[in-house]
């Protein structure tokens, strides 16, 4: 019995000690981002990171001033095309890696999310704030498309457009993409919130065509 207990103790210790050592020697990533995720050529992108271990910030294609960095920090990098930033962190027993993409002036993006329905207002609505996390301040609207299967009223700033399902509007052309957009679709006279939400799978979205500069 003593032998059995000794064996069990040995096995337990042997399984715990390496884990403790490993925990003390493992790399980890607490945070990593590159914003805005949609930019214009020549924009400065802010890369922010926090990790445990020896940190290297990389990019593909390479940009100026990447390389070994402090374990946490934030730095701006100028890009002129689609760029994938990488964070690698290594420590005694492990290394970790993660990635963040920034895309330069893609033809379009879809924005939106899970919408809420108000029985009192007889409408489904969603607010979509776009700021420097998502889009460069230099990005301009070239078109907007209603990506939903029912008509919406799309508004931003002082502008507003009613757009049929799948339809386009030029109302926001050349306006900055950044800002707060609101989407709203009215319930039909006898339609319940539940049915209305089901018709759009609880989502409201819109597509924005982009341009940079004038």
């Amino acid at each position: 019995m003593k032998d059995e207990m000794r064996t069990q103790l040995f096995l337990t210790v042997r399984s715990i000690v390496p884990a403790l050592i490993l925990c003390a020697g493992c790399a980890s990533i607490e945070n990593f981002s590159a914003n805005p995720r949609t930019a214009c050529a020549g924009d400065a992108v802010t890369v922010t990171w926090a990790a445990v271990g020896d940190v290297t910030i990389g990019s593909e294609p390479p940009v100026a001033d990447i390389g070994a960095k402090a374990s946490s920090g934030s730095q701006r990098f100028v890009i002129d095309r689609d760029t994938r930033f990488t964070l690698k962190t290594s420590r005694l027993f492990s290394c970790k890696r993660t990635e963040a993409d920034v895309v330069v002036a893609p033809p379009a993006r879809e924005f939106g999310g899970i919408a809420a329905c108000s029985a009192a207002d007889r409408a489904i609505a969603l607010t979509v704030p776009l700021d420097e996390r998502q889009v460069s301040s230099a990005l301009k609207v070239s078109s907007v498309t209603n990506a939903n299967r029912r008509a919406i009223v799309l508004a931003k700033g002082g502008r507003q457009a009613t757009i049929p399902a799948g339809g386009r509007s030029a109302e926001f052309d050349r306006e900055p993409v950044a800002g707060t957009w609101t989407l709203r679709t009215e319930l039909a006279p006898s339609e319940s919130c539940e049915d209305a939400l089901r018709s759009v799978a609880n989502r409201l979205t819109f597509r924005v065509g982009f341009g940079c500069g004038e």
Binding site: E4, E30, A100, G112, A201, R203
Partner: protein, 443 residues
Amino acid sequence: MAALDRIKTIVVVIMENRSFDHVLGYLSLPEYGGRRDVEGLVDLDTDPRFANEYDQQIYRPFPMGDGRLLHDLPHGRQQVATQLAMSGTTPTMSGFVKAYVEENHSIVEQPPPLGYLGPDSVFMSDFLARNYLVCDHWFAPLPTDTHPNRVMAFTGSATVDDTQSRIIPHRNLVFDWLTQHGVRWRAYHCGFSFFPLFGEFEHILGGRFHSMRQLVSDIATDKDDEVPQVVFVEPEYGDSPVHFGFSPNDNHPPDPIGPGEHFLRDIYTALSVSPRWAQTMLIVIHDEHGGFFDHVAPLPVKMPVPAGALYRQPFETTGVRVPALIASPFVRAGTCYRGNLDHTSLLQLFAEKFAGDRRAYSDDVNRRLDQGIGSVSSVLAAQARTDVPPAPTKAVPVAQVLQATKPLINENQKALLLAGQKLLAHDRTKAIRQFPELVHLQS
């Protein structure tokens, strides 16, 4: 005689961590035949059900090639809740990218959870889907990770809601039920098995566990009264603490799916060339979705917290849909079964087949039956086919998965290590004969 009566051997293979849309969703796409009978991927650019949101931006499913991923995908209970993204009581299935970013701090243009594979990557699943039967409403029983879902498959209930390093408390283990009902059963394993995690080592060392390498010879040499009526075939788990002679082929990310497809081909080939194929049913499922996107909401199947459970919050829904394929002379070629199934449908099948009553397994299983979960027997056709489609022979490139021994990182790896150590402590000689690679745990 009913089809179920004519089936003499039921073979169950449970792979790891892939969703239905990820593996078989392509079947509905026009470029792959556009099957309307399968609820897969359609109108990806416009259908709102496929829109996943992260930080106001919408991401949609995209075709991905097979290969090793940068990260495993999140699939614990909390992360699955993020993926389901409940709106009131409705799962919107819109939070898969968000869960991935929160876990891995990676936001890329094509987030891996939204990647779907094509038939070139899943050549064997594609073969089974086109020549046999797809179940497109087979759900993981619980919206959480590996251990609880495998425990559901093998007991009908779950005393754990997460994957931790521990021997899993349980009741109504399938091996006990089969033994009590006089059913001949056997388990085949590539390397180390999942079943030692139940702590019932006599089942494992009692002669019913065979190496996968014996599958073909057993099929060739078993006498009629030796042929197992239920067979479990286990892949080589990527999380196994030690590998010897097998590379991971369980489909668990970040490893690729190709090795698992070859594993399935080996199993199908071994079974289908035997004269006993005429009386065989092969069931291939995945334990849970592994963090990959699926657009169909889990079913509102409730499971109260069972006695002795190590968690307090009951489950309100099933987990996410998983790929499920059934090959047998008793299913029609290229068909799809739409009824609701989950892993406890296997236990209903055993009860129906071996006790004459699908309610004969346990109250836990019956509770799910009463909420609409059916038996696998529902898929069977009355008439048997006589054709036996040959397995694909074309060589399919498989991404490299060999890798240096790595430090134990996740709880499943630690759990399997613990189970191996306990098995060795229980009977070292028998344990090493059964699982030779366990020698390396002693060195």
